[in-house]
Each structure stands twice: as C-alpha cells, then as structure tokens.
Amino acid sequence: MLEFILHSVGSTVLRLLQYVGQLAFLARETAISIRVAPLRWGLLLRQLAEIGFRSQLVVVVTGAFTGAVFSAQTYFQFHRLGMDSAVGAVVAVSLFRELGPVLTALMLSGRVGASIAAEIGTMKVTEQIEALRALGVHPIDYLIVPRILALIISTPLLVAECIGLGIGAGYLVATQVLGVSKAYYLTNMLSFTTGRDIKMALIKGFAFAGLIGFIACEEGLKTSQGAAGVGRAPTQAVVIASLVILISNFFLSFLLNIFFPAGTY
C-alpha cells in the first residue's frame, strides 16, 4: 500500500517536472525566435485584435460585476461594525492585488487559451505545421511568437481594465445603492491603494499571460490522434492553465508581498 502511494506520488511529481520542462523548452525556443527571427507584424496585429481587443467584453463584464458584488458584500459585513467608509479601500486593494489579475487570467485562459490550443492542435493533426516547416517557416516564429507577444502585451492592459471597471462598479453600488458617503469612500480608497498595488497587478498580469500562452501553445503543439485529440487540447489547456494560475497566484502573492508589502506603512 505504502509502496503504491509512494509510486503514484513519485510518478505524478515526475510528470509535473516533465511538463515544466516542456514549457521551459517552449519558452526558450520562443525567446530564441524573438531574438533571431524578424518579427511578423501582420500576424502580431491580428493576434492583438483577436486576443486583446476582442477579449474586452468578457473581461469588462467580469470586472464590473465582481466589483459590484464584492463591494456590496463588504458593505454588508462592515456596516455592522460601523466601518462603511472602509469599503472602497478593501474593494480596491483586493481588486488590484488578487481579483483583477486572477479573474482576468481565468477568463482569458477560457477564451484565448482554448482557441489557441484548438487552432494549433488542428494545424498539427492536419499536417499544416509540417507544411509550414516544409516551406522553410519555423512554426515557433509563425504561430507561437505572435500569440505569446499579443498575450503579454494585452493581458496587463486587460487586467487594468478589469480593475478599473471593478472599482467603478463597486463605487456606484456602495455610494448610489447602499448610501456610503462618496467622499469617505474615495479618500479611504486612495489612501490605502498605493503604487505597489498597481505594480503587483501588472506583474501578475505579465506572469499569467506567459503561463496561459505557453500552456495553450504546448497543448496545441502536442496534439495527436485526430479529432479526439483536437477536442482534448483546449480542454486540457483551460484546465491546466486555470489550475496553474490559481496555484501560482498563491505563491506569487507571498513572493510579491516581500517586494511590494501591503498596507500604507
């Protein structure tokens, strides 16, 4: 029994390390490509439109409604303690430090990660990636780099949008619906939110963008077994990316808290 447990734990850890290795290899190839191959601006712009521009609706709605409901719940709890005016600060800091980056990343891994994995996976099983190679085009240059760059450029912006809308919606709900004083709400929010919170949000955005991009591309590139494989690739990409985002967010929060401590002191 013990042997069985050790064995399964061991093989899981091994598979995990192997997966990390594959991602690192892909990341290295991408870095090399960015350095040696000319950038394909047309493809990058198309991906920016697809990944960044068209993801806005999803991200904005997520941010707004999360901010609104979070503000309301915080108010319900704080109201009993007579701390109505602190609601703005709690909502803003949580959005900057945790909710904004994580929710944006989760929505992106669903919307963008899935489509990247499906598209690249289809190209893989229909020999289109081999056709690219046969025509002297490196698939990393053509397929991976534009998508990764587009994600890295647009995710921090989308995170900012998500946070902005969240704070706006939270403010409206607290002040218009629940009757919190506007001046106190804003004053507390501004005095408790610092540049460090903004930096943390952006750094998380960068990190999650890379994770979503490399996981989705990796799942696409290793697709095999025809239609069933193409069906599995996006599912895998979304599940893995979501879990990795949630788990790495925990560690990232602790790590970043060393450099960008929370609070005003």
């Binding site: 229909t126 056709a131 190679r133 046969a134 025509l135 002297g136 085009v137 490196h138």
Partner: protein
C-alpha cells in the same frame, strides 16, 4: 543531388526504415514504389528534414542534413519542395493565399507579380480561376492539385511528390504526369515521385526504386523493372495479391 546512406528510423514501436540507401541523380525523376504502409511517406519526410533519422546519412548538395537544426534546415527547404500526401493546405487561407504563401516567404512584395504567379501556377494544375475558393470547398483531387501548385510555385530545384495522382481522374492524372515531366525538362528539376500508380511510375520515371520491408528492394530503370522476374516485384507491377484464389 541527394544521397541517402543506411537510413534507420523507428516510429513508436515499429522499425519503419531499416537501412535505406538511395542515390537520386540531379535532373532525373526517381520513382519510389511500395505497398501501402511500407514507409514511403516517412522516407520522403526525411529528405526535407521533417523527420530526423535514428541513424544514417542524408546528403543534399554535399551537405549532411541528418543532424541539422530546424533553423538551419530552412536553407535546404528553399531548394527542396515537398507535396504532402494529404495536400496539407492552410485551411484558413484561400487557394490564392495558399499559393502566394511561399512567394511572400521568399520576400516577393509586389502584389501584381504575386497575382500573376498564382494565376500561372493554378493554370498549370488545371485550377484556373479558382483563386478565391477555400480549401474546404475543394474536392479531394482539387486539393491535391492545389497542394502541388503551392509546392511548385517557388520553383524549387528538387521536388518530392507524395502520391501526386492518387484520387485523381484519369485525365487529371495524365495532366499531372505531363506536368511532372515538363517541370523536370524545363527547369531541370530533380524529382522524387512516390506513387502506387503504375501509369504515373512508367510515365515519369528515369529510375524506379521499390521499397519493401524497410529497405530498397529494387532500384533500376523502368526497363529493368519490367524485365524483373522476382515474384514480389512481378506481383506488385501486375497488382496481384498473394492470397490464393477461391
């Protein structure tokens, strides 16, 4: 032009190629025959570095490509074009964009030049006027010919055809056979043609090789093949399965 020496390749559990040696002479058409599943496509993919051999050498124009990196292979692939058995068209691009792809990659910017070359290539494979069709709206045979147009549009010095005429009607087959001949004559292209089709084989070949059980079982001129008495070759040429008659 291409020298293959003692090529071995295992895919999964299966030893697909076990010691292929083959010389392909510049300017000639070398046909490769063999039963379905014997490794013809796998061999062809090795010749442009899409697969890396487990052991053995593949020398193209004096350069061993067996252990080149992906980026170094780009150079080779500008000279050696391959037509995939499946066509491997880019399904999100129109027919014209598929053919224009290698031209744009070669750095041609002038849209007028591209349009003209695309039209010319489509004409060559009897697909004149089909520029705007998407690959999914083409028939199997049309896709194959579109793939062929994409392969030849950049005029590579060596062209590898993986079953160029499978699934085509007899007339289209004949026109592709002639096209292969014409390209070889006019451009002095070196061609490797993988096929099951005896008509294609004898129409296009300067030499014919027969792949069997992972090795080159026979390599000679069409005349020598026709004169061969070996039962395996004779059965293949005459299209006889070895099962006993009922």
């Amino acid at each position: 032009m291409i020298y293959v020496t003692d090529l071995h390749k295992k895919l999964g559990e299966q030893q697909v190629l076990s010691g292929i040696s083959l010389n392909i002479t510049r300017g000639q058409t070398h046909v490769i025959l063999g039963r379905s599943g014997c490794g013809k496509s796998v061999l062809l993919k090795h010749l442009v570095g899409l697969l890396q051999p487990d052991s053995g050498k593949i020398v193209i124009d004096g350069e061993d490509i067996a252990n080149l990196r992906e980026r170094q292979l780009g150079r080779i692939r500008k000279r050696v074009g391959i037509l995939f058995q499946s066509g491997a068209l880019f399904d999100s691009m129109s027919a014209a964009e598929n053919i224009a792809f290698p031209l744009r990659e070669a750095g041609i910017k002038d849209e007028e030049v591209i349009r003209q070359k695309v039209a010319e290539a489509l004409e060559m494979v009897d697909l004149g006027g089909e520029q705007e069709k998407m690959p999914e709206n083409l028939s199997g045979g049309m896709r194959k010919r579109l793939g062929l147009a994409r392969t030849i549009v950049s005029r590579p010095a060596c062209i590898l055809y993986d079953e160029p005429t499978t699934g085509l009607d007899p007339i289209a087959t004949d026109s592709i056979n002639r096209l292969i001949r014409r390209l070889q004559k006019r451009l002095n292209a070196t061609s490797v043609v993988v096929t099951h089709d005896m008509k294609t084989a004898f129409h296009t070949a300067d030499r014919i090789a027969f792949l069997h059980e992972g090795r080159i079982y026979f390599d000679g001129t069409p005349k020598e093949l026709l004169a061969a008495k070996d039962p395996i070759l004779v059965d293949f040429i005459e299209g006889r399965s070895t099962e006993s008659e009922e």
